[in-house]
């Protein structure tokens, strides 16, 4: 029984190796060609330039929202009654300046 098991195991691993090889062939795993690195540097620089401005605008909006005063109980009611995530409830509430009715009506649409 032991020997049989062992043999089976051998077949198994050989089988698997073959499978793995076949798979590699199929997916044709080749290392990427190296690109010219000096050209790469200039290309990279042009891409990153515009990113900063977007980030800045996003941060401003977040700050604004965080300053809105809201009633914590409203968050729970909205989350519970509309079965939405608390984070969504809170954010919508902030976006509607803490007006719970307006926030709910927005979520209903």
């Amino acid at each position: 029984m032991e020997a049989g098991d062992e043999a089976l195991e051998m077949v198994d691993s050989k089988d698997l190796q073959q499978q793995s090889k076949a798979l590699d062939k199929l997916t044709d795993h080749v290392e990427d060609r190296q690109l010219d690195s000096s050209r790469v540097q200039t290309a990279m620089a042009s891409i990153y330039a515009s990113k900063e401005a977007d980030l800045q605008a996003m941060r401003m909006r977040e700050k604004e929202l965080a300053a809105v005063k809201i009633n914590a109980a409203d968050i729970d009611i909205i989350a519970n009654e509309l079965e939405v995530d608390k984070k969504v409830a809170e954010r919508t509430l902030r976006e509607h300046k803490g007006d719970a009715v307006a926030a709910i009506r927005h979520l209903l649409n």
Binding site: S13, D32, T42
Partner: protein, 897 residues
């Protein structure tokens, strides 16, 4: 990795990793054990051992070891990475992402972990995260092609197409002029076509066309190049050039409908809704006459004019189209022409036309005005067409006459029986339809399509056991019924689930519906491998298309049906909970104590026996499968094959909500979604969510009787609510106050008045009257008699059909069944219900539900066996043996499958 180990063990550790990657798990395990003998607490080794065991199907040990390893070495990125991989293998992607993030906190620049993370982010559609990770990868290794492409695709998915174009252009800037080398031409061409499609998507068709022309020599896919060029020219309004190009494409493939459409667009002769002026029709006719001359072998060029021609010209063209196909004997002719039945007037013309052919064939043996004799089969196919024609128009009597004539003419054509079965189904005799389909099946036991059609009919007739046996004839040996699940055979699961639901077997129904839901989850899973594969292979357009398809996956009709079915099951479970332990106790409490004890013992013993038997069975099946495949790959046996556990849930509405959420997200334009949402949320007392359902129903179709029902029921309920006390109630009240004016139906009138004006608006329609009657009873329960009268006073108008013989009435069978149920169970007026039944039996002669005189429910004996009514009344098993062929088939099965 393995840094804290002495050199010998460190090498062994490397061996573990290598063995894992090459799938030599046994070897890796040995190495791990050797290290652990000396350093039993080495975290990374413990983790790797766990990961290895995970691949050997020893899940629980794996988790234990990986967790222990992590505990011993919290500062190791390897341990966190392994933990993430373990979660990933179990599809717990959110947990896996957390683990990868922890790993990256320790080793922020680890490329492998970043790559794994990016795959998960693409899978979970964390698109911002995906962009970020892809950017990090590019920053770390900017001279790898795949990182540039990945970054661009990430931006595209994150709805920033122009950024993606910038990146691809920057990438092109890094290439030499003589790029690409011979072996990368296909990939590079794909990348260019992807970039061009991006440019078009971002609203720069000129740039796209310019780029296309500039890169012509580098684009390998020439057909796609031409198609893109033609479409871009069209988009830019350069019609003359576009026309030329579409004609070139047509010369290559004159059966491609998109080329014809493009050509028509270039000529200014295309309208989305198929409506054209007389002048346009003339020009189109000329166009297609020339094209038909050019491409005489194309069938598209002959078929398309039927869509735009009208009246006599249509008649002429249709006859010219139909004649040779009837002579040739094309069974799909009716399906081909089916869409024309929605065009005004064309159905009548087609009917007249084919009737004329039939008469001529019968009297002269040839087509009218032709001296040539037709082969006898032409008449049979003509009758076959006419049967389907009458079926489509609801004239089931005529349809059956024609199909019977055809069967008498040539009794050996299977299609005739299939169509007859379909007609009977439409006419409402599901049992006879199933029997006929079975007869068709027996005529060719090797035809999978006929077999499937038969299974479907059986399920529609609620013969589930028989259907199962029939379906299994075409599955692989051994696995039998499970095979249908493994093959994701969803039409079968849906039809079977619907049937169980009709029969009130909710557990089995849920089992089937949830199986379909599972298939969809699996399809979502299946995309995982493509995130890395497609980027490497540069099949970018197909990749993005596949992702978009996956995003809409759950709006597919099969999923919708399954989710709706499951929700209905849960609603039923909620409305009439299981007769559970308490009821059984009731029955038992009536017995004297001594007997009670005995009975309990008996039950316990029986249970134990059943359990043992089940275990033995599982072992046996494992043993056989082991013997057969010679491998230890054992399939887990389903512990709950009949869904008994599925119905023993605490909160059916919470389960229903799970599927409802998916429907709301993916099928929000379906009336059914919001009808179910209304039902679920009213039961859950979630007033606001019910309001949301109402709002959607009004948006989609305020005139639908079901929408109206929900609207009035909702405000009736709202009006009966107590005055608000708690904060929650006050808030809900505030929203209702603000929303109510938006419902114009309720302006300045009470609910009763609103119900009445709805009736005035739709006085002629049966279903609208039924809805009004139901509400009348809800609003004023003392007016039940009036409600019943409202329904009974409905008139089933005759709709005359020009040209055809006979008339059709306006009521639909299913509607009448619904009304019957309304009278029986909602209004609870049994007399009215039986009066309704008698009345409908006259309208629907073939309906088994109303026991019409022609239906199999009424006269099994009169029908000849050739019509398949044999054994209809017999139990499923006996009808199985009565056709006697199933057993024989079992023996034959190996031969033809």
């Amino acid at each position: 990795m393995g840094a804290s180990l002495p050199p010998k063990e460190a090498n062994l550790f490397k061996l573990i990793v290598k063995s894992y990657e090459t799938k030599q798990y046994k070897k890796g395990l040995k190495a791990a054990d050797t290290i652990l003998k000396k350093f039993p607490n080495h975290g990374e080794t413990l983790s790797m051992k766990g990961l290895t065991l995970n691949c050997m199907d020893r899940k629980s040990e794996a988790y234990e070891l990986v967790r222990l390893g992590l505990k011993n070495d919290l500062k190791s990125h390897v341990c966190w990475h392994v933990y993430g991989l373990l979660y990933r293998s179990d599809r717990e992607y959110r947990e896996a992402i957390k683990c990868y993030r922890n790993a990256l906190r320790i080793d922020p620049d680890n490329i492998e972990i970043l790559r794994d993370l990016s795959l998960l982010q693409a899978q979970m559609r964390d698109l911002e995260g995906f962009v970020e990770t892809r950017q990090q990868l590019l920053t770390l290794k900017p001279n790898h092609r795949m990182n540039w492409i990945g970054f661009a695709v990430a931006h595209h998915l994150n709805l920033n197409g122009s950024k993606a174009v910038d990146i691809l252009e920057a990438y092109e800037g890094t290439l030499d002029d003589d790029y690409p080398p011979e072996n990368e031409r296909c990939e590079h061409g794909e990348m260019l076509l992807y970039k061009i499609s991006l440019l078009e998507e971002c609203g720069f068709p000129e740039r796209a066309l310019e780029e296309l022309h500039k890169k012509e020599s580098k684009i390998v896919d020439k057909l796609d190049y031409k198609e893109q060029e033609a479409l871009l020219l069209l988009k830019l309004g350069r019609f003359e050039e576009g026309e030329k190009l579409f004609r070139v494409l047509l010369a290559m493939n004159p059966d491609n409908y998109r080329y014809y459409e493009g050509l028509q667009r270039c000529l200014g002769l295309y309208s989305e809704n198929g409506q054209y002026t007389a002048d346009e029709i003339d020009r189109l006719e000329n166009l297609y006459r020339v094209l038909a001359h050019q491409y005489s072998r194309s069938s598209a060029v002959k078929r398309i004019p039927l869509d735009f021609l009208r009246d006599d010209k249509f008649r002429e063209a249709a006859e010219y189209y139909i004649r040779p196909l009837l002579t040739k004997g094309v069974p799909s002719l009716f399906s081909d022409l089916y869409p024309l039945y929605d065009h005004p007037g064309k159905a009548d013309i087609l009917g007249e036309l084919v009737l004329k052919l039939e008469q001529s064939l019968k009297s002269t043996g040839g087509y009218p005005g032709s001296v040539e004799k037709e082969p006898p089969s032409t008449l049979m196919w003509t009758l076959f067409y006419l049967a389907q024609h009458y079926d489509r128009r609801g004239q089931y009597d005529m349809a059956l006459t024609k199909i019977d004539e055809a069967i008498e003419h040539t009794p050996t054509v299977i299609d005739l029986y299939c169509v007859k079965s379909r007609i009977l189904k439409h006419a409402g005799d599901l049992v006879a339809a199933a029997a006929l389909a079975d007869e068709a099946r027996c005529m060719d036991l090797a035809d999978r399509y006929v077999n499937s059609e038969c299974v479907k009919r059986m399920l529609q007739a609620d013969q589930v056991a028989l259907a199962e046996k029939t379906a299994v004839l075409f599955t692989k040996d051994g696995e039998q019924h499970n095979n249908l699940y493994d093959m994701q055979c969803m039409w079968y699961e849906l039809a079977s689930g619907e049937s169980y639901l009709r029969q009130g077997e909710l557990g089995r129904a849920l089992k089937k519906f949830l199986a379909v839901e599972k298939h969809y989850a699996d399809i979502t899973e299946d995309q995982f491998d493509f995130h890395s594969y497609c980027l490497r292979k540069m099949t970018l357009r197909t990749y993005v298309e596949m992702l978009k398809f996956q995003d809409r996956l759950h709006s597919h009709a099969y999923f919708r049906k399954a989710a709706c079915g499951a929700i209905r099951c849960y609603l039923k479970l909620y409305d009439s909970p299981l007769k559970s332990a308490s009821e059984e106790d009731d029955a038992m409490s009536k017995l004297p104590p001594s007997q009670k004890k005995k009975l309990k013992q008996k039950l316990r013993k029986a249970e134990a026996r059943a359990k043992k038997e089940a275990e033995v069975k599982i072992e046996e099946s494992n043993a056989t499968s082991f013997a057969k495949s010679g491998k230890r790959h054992v399939k887990p046996v389903d512990p709950d094959p009949h869904g008994e556990k599925l119905i023993q849930i605490e909160d059916p509405l919470a389960e229903a909500s799970k599927y409802l959420k998916l429907l709301l997200k993916h099928s929000s334009d379906c009336l059914e979604t919001h009808l179910l949402s209304f039902e679920v949320n009213m039961r859950k007392q979630k007033i606001l969510l019910a309001l949301q359902a109402i709002k959607h129903l009004m948006r989609l179709d305020a005139d639908d009787p079901k929408s109206h029902l929900c609207l009035i029921k909702f405000f009736h309920k709202v009006d009966s609510l107590p005055t608000p006390v708690t904060d929650t109630e006050k808030l809900i009240w505030g929203v209702l106050e603000a929303e109510r004016p938006a419902f114009s139906q309720l302006h300045g009138q009470s609910l009763i008045e609103a119900n009445n004006s709805f009736l005035e608006k739709h006085r002629e329609s049966l279903m609208h009257r039924a809805a009004v009657a139901e509400l009348l009873y809800v609003l004023e329960p003392n007016k039940k008699a009036e409600a019943v009268k409202l329904i009974e006073d409905s008139v089933n108008d005759l709709i005359s059909i020009n040209g055809g013989q006979g008339n059709v009435r306006s009521w639909k069978l299913n509607d009448c069944i619904t009304v019957h149920k309304l009278l029986e169970t909602t209004l609870v007026d049994h007399d009215a219900a039986s009066r309704w039944k008698v009345r409908c039996a006259e309208y629907f002669l073939y309906s088994t539900y109303f026991r019409g005189i022609q239906s199999s429910a009424n006269n099994q004996i009169q029908k000849s066996p050739a019509n398949g009514a044999v054994g209809l009344n017999a139990s499923e098993d006996s009808s199985l043996s009565s056709n006697g062929r199933l057993e024989k088939l079992n023996a034959l099965k190996d031969l033809h499958i």
